[in-house]
Amino acid sequence: MILRAVFAGLLCLGVTVALGWAVLERPAPVENLPERVAAAMPESGVEHPITAVLLNFRSYDTLLEIAVLLLAVVVALALREAQPDRPEQMGLDNPLLRAVMAWLLPLMLVVAGFLLWAGAHQPGGAFQAGSVLAAAGVLLRLAGVTADWLDNAVLVRAGLALGLLTFLGIGMLVMLPGVPFLTYPAAHAGTLILVIELTLTLSIGLTLLSLFRLNPPYADDPDDARAQEAPKP
């Protein structure tokens, strides 16, 4: 056991030193990407280079990443539903948490909206706004506040798929004039990106929240579960 730890330590030290050396001696990039991005900015429809890369120049990557998120939540749903249903036990009975929620929740919603809007010209965007939305949902869940629509399977699934479907739909709609997939016309690029970001924010928030809700605090231990069914004398 000690030998294993020593061996692992030496290996990791070697990898770390090699990586540090690689960072120091890395070759200079051949392409000047910042310059190319800056040159293409006027036709992107937004003013912030990261948002432009994310949703215009390399939107194919982003589309596939949204698909990965959807896939993760679909797998989690499939695994969850095979388990026996049990009554929900979540919600900390904490008056302080509930009181703070009343202050925090409107603030978080405003921050999410601001981040989404700010993405066009400064750091921000769908991923950040979606994460804030999901955090608000997690806090609500911890405070024991339930929302009936989150138990409506059809509604939740539609919300989960909304972002990817809108992204795909707009990507194919712009093909009508005969341009490649996801090539937005420069005149409407800003509006199209805002619509995509709005639906992505909702879907990302709902995806992260669903993944949290799919891990309810059950007694996982097989022995514990048996002990609950038949209390010991």
Partner: protein, 102 residues
């Protein structure tokens, strides 16, 4: 470029250090949740290297930044999925490690 200990390389080297620490945790521990944590630390190291190397003398390169922001959200989602799978494994077998590791 060699020998330059400039400010922007600090982030990349912190990332390298995190990656090494995570790799050690990943090898040294057998508990699957500890391994997941170690794996996430390795991932954070990779993100830091990408973001750190994206800023050199010619300004900030937005392409790795865009990659990292989607990467963070995907990493969170995959961690949650891994936890769902781990809990199913624990419920089914009562074990916290994988049989191949022992």
């Amino acid at each position: 470029m060699s020998g330059a200990i400039s400010g922007y390389l600090v982030f990349a080297w912190s990332g390298v250090l995190l990656f090494g620490l995570g790799l050690f945790g990943f090898i040294a521990h057998r508990h699957i949740v500890r391994r997941l944590l170690a794996f996430n630390i390795m991932g954070s190291g990779v993100f830091l290297v990408l973001v750190g190397l994206a800023q050199d003398g010619r300004g900030v390169d937005p392409v790795p930044h865009a990659m990292v922001i989607t990467g963070i959200v995907v990493a969170v989602a995959s961690t949650a999925l891994a936890l769902v799978v781990f809990r199913r494994w624990y419920r089914a077998s009562g074990r916290t490690d994988l049989p191949e590791d022992t």
